[in-house]
Amino acid sequence: MTPPAAENAQVAQSPERGIDRVAAFGAAVAVVACLLLPLTVFRANRIVAGSPHTALSAGPAGWILLAVCVAALAVAALARPSVRGRVLPLSAAALTVALAWALGRAAVTLRAGQPVISRVSIGAGAWLVAAGCTVLWFASRSYDGAASFRRAAAGLAAAGFAGAALIGGLGQLSIVTEYGDRTAEFWAAVGTHLTLAGGSLALAVLIGVPLGVLSLRVRWLRTTTLGVVGLIQTVPSLALLGLLVFPLAALGLPGIGPLPGVIALTLYALLPIVRNTYVGLSGVDPAIVDAGRGMGMSGSQLLLRVEAPLALPLVIEGVRSAAVLVIGIAAVVAFVGVGTLGVLVFEGWGVQADDLILLGAVPMVVMAVVADAGLRALARAATSPGIR
């Protein structure tokens, strides 16, 4: 969804008129979340039902958080546009720090005098304040000429967050406790998840790219390949894992464990890779191919020097889609006995341990987001300036 340039211009102008509606929306979400939703949830132990606590019950830090939210709303609604571009990132930074601080204080206060097995987990309100805060950061980007303020604000936010983590009691939150209890298991799951996803992705690239290249030259291969991988894509991942058990068993291979996992993930990763390789190569202007052949390039020279560089950005884009897909489905593979992050999530579901669920889900999201951003950057870097 890249917007046309004209659209961009309009968006960039909109904060100039009166209130910044985007920033105001973000701040308003934060204010409402502060007032109405639980900032934290207290539990006597890991799995019993919890009692919700709003920000205001977190003592002075909670009131400060609310004040910062209201101040951010005021900035979004009332500040002059020229000033707002500079103050908005600062309010976003202040909100980030205030939230971290309030969470930490709430955890410390609620757990004071309670047994060590008591837990304070992050409530819906805190998530929404964080979302509102992200919107504020996002809105601040549309102001020209305030880049240095944004950088400074980001630095302040990082420092404040680190402070909250070190001395503000952020470490008292249940997810940190959960991590402390399961450090080894957590990192093993992260490792398995990455290995499984990365290995399958590599395998899919090794199979998919040549298939895409061949599809360009061999018509029947194109229709069958794209048809088959397209069909596989529609099959629910859990069903595919279930179905794989039987052919594997017939071959005397284990129906559970890493093997079906790798097979399933590779199959899912194939579609975007094969399709994008094919589309990228077939999109090369025939006149360019003709010129290359006319100058005496052999088939492989044409592929390596002309077609591949032109198709590469699209191929990497396909690998990116595949990577995001595979990181997500690797979680489901936990069901057939592979220790990915899915194990933590599903175990958490089993015993209703919210912290365990988060411990599995959050790194999965981080992995997907990092893979997405990294491969996007790689695709940009692999695009010749001549075709950018």
């Binding site: 809105a139 991942s237 179905l243 979680a331």
Partner: protein, 245 residues
């Protein structure tokens, strides 16, 4: 035109055949018993295949309906002058949301909403939102400005233009987004069975937990067929709403 009609007929026939197959519990029982003669209980005991498919479809249809009710207006709104300020925010959120693993969305809903069918529905409708909004915006923005100019020049009002010009021209792209959304939902709903949402994931989970291969096969085959039939039906709809034949 003729090919389109044969395509529609084939897909309709496949859907009817699937429905009939699902209703014949006796066939499933016979087939599974034949394939797994050693198992005492070769058929998932808690619900018939028809019930499981119905549950599954219920979850998917409700969440897709919510997705459409929210996603279409949201996508349209950010392309109108009144919502244009939010276009960038929505586009960025939707791009970001699409990188989220579906299981993670399910997982993150759990602490907030607990177990059962409704949190699954909330998670599915949220996750399904991303392709619908993304394609609605892309489809509407792809309508050429000169067409809009011509429509305005002929004296058509904003709403009229939206319904008689923009929607028809964007229909195929929007429908492609809906198709993606529904197919992802069918898949994620299978996983959601682990949170107690029911549906075709249940026999697969129970089968894996109790080492009953027949149940796994029962759920997996039904889920795979359901997804394929739904995908081809939606593919036909997508083709049918395309502006040019």
């Amino acid at each position: 035109m003729k090919r389109r009609r044969t395509g529609l007929a084939a897909v309709a026939a496949a859907a009817v055949a699937f429905a009939y197959l699902v209703s014949r519990q006796d066939w499933w029982a016979a087939a599974l018993t034949r394939l797994f003669p050693t198992l005492t209980q070769a058929v998932f005991p808690s619900a018939t295949v028809a019930d499981l498919v119905t549950q599954h479809l219920q979850i998917v249809l409700i969440s897709s309906a919510i997705t459409l009710l929210v996603g279409l207006p949201l996508g349209v709104w950010v392309t109108r002058p009144s919502g244009r300020a939010f276009r960038e925010l929505v586009a960025a959120s939707v791009d970001f949301g699409q990188t989220f693993p579906p299981v993670a969305v399910l997982a993150l809903m759990m602490p907030l909403l607990g177990l059962g069918t409704s949190p699954a529905i909330v998670a599915l409708s949220l996750y399904g939102l991303f392709p619908v909004v993304s394609n609605t915006v892309a489809g509407i923005e792809a309508v050429s400005p000169s067409v809009l100019d011509a429509a305005t020049g002929m004296g058509m009002g904003k709403w009229r233009i939206l319904f008689t010009v923009e929607f028809p021209l964007a229909a195929r792209v929007i429908m492609a987004g809906i198709r993606t959304s529904v197919i992802i939902n069918i898949g994620t709903a299978t996983v959601a069975a682990a949170t107690g949402a029911g549906g075709l994931g249940s026999p697969i989970y129970s089968g894996i937990n109790l080492q009953n291969g027949a149940w796994v096969l029962e759920g997996a085959v039904a889920a795979a067929l359901l997804a394929m039939v739904a995908d081809s039906v939606l593919a036909q709809v997508e083709r049918a709403v395309a502006p040019t034949a």
